[in-house]
Symmetry: C2
DNA sequence: TTATATACCTAAAATAATTAGGTATATAAT
DNA sequence: ATTATATACCTAATTATTTTAGGTATATAA
């Protein structure tokens, strides 16, 4: 349902919240979308691992209440990536609205 | 660059324009997006054939100026599909804006 | 006669997401 | 006690979609 924008969403959430762990991200997406967007773990974890592999995210592991948690946060490189990814997303949404005629065109 | 919304764009263009042929669709997308979105034929033709196979589109072939053209138009089923696909797209864009914080949230 | 525009198409590869699992601990309910 | 739910991580096979990179052919402008 997210189609190619998952990375941007993850980076943006981490920019806003400092650090988050996987499960927390799924819950945040659910909350922000009023239960309409369910970010599945099969999509999330591979995406997190990819972003980490690209050097955009870094991790720290902790045990909280007897359970393992892996916190993700932006690297300096990740910080730069958010800016460009957000600009891309903005442009993408705008073009989509143009093409779907969801935005009044300049005639 | 279109990521999953190509079908909706095709259906919407055909709803608005009655009938169009493949090349015409690529040029229309280019025009509407001011040259920023290039709908490649490798994406377009498989999508058109899939929609036709699903019974949402029908075709008529003509020779114009010595060149073959294949016009696509909505079937009655396709007409219904546009409505629901557009609603999906609207909801998708809205959630994307929420998640990317591109829309003021109701706090 | 070469390049560009028009017009159709496909197939291999890459990318991404869904589906459907698996492991494990804590806590609330039966 | 035991079962269900919530928390928390993960992967692998399949499916879906797009990109890349071709191929064919006609009309027209350089």
């Amino acid at each position: 349902m997210l189609k190619g924008t998952l990375q941007t969403i993850i980076l943006k959430l981490l920019e806003d919240n400092g650090r988050m762990y996987g499960y927390e991200i799924t819950q945040k997406v659910k909350e922000v979308s009023a239960g309409e967007v369910m970010l599945t773990e099969g999509a999330l974890y591979p995406a997190l691992h990819k972003l980490e592999g690209e050097g955009l995210l870094q991790t720290t592991s902790e045990i909280v209440d007897g359970r393992a948690r892996k916190y993700y946060s932006l690297t300096p490189q990740g910080g730069k990536a958010v800016t460009s990814k957000m600009e891309e997303a903005r442009a993408f949404i705008e073009q989509l609205q143009n093409l779907l005629d969801l935005k009044p065109a300049i005639k």
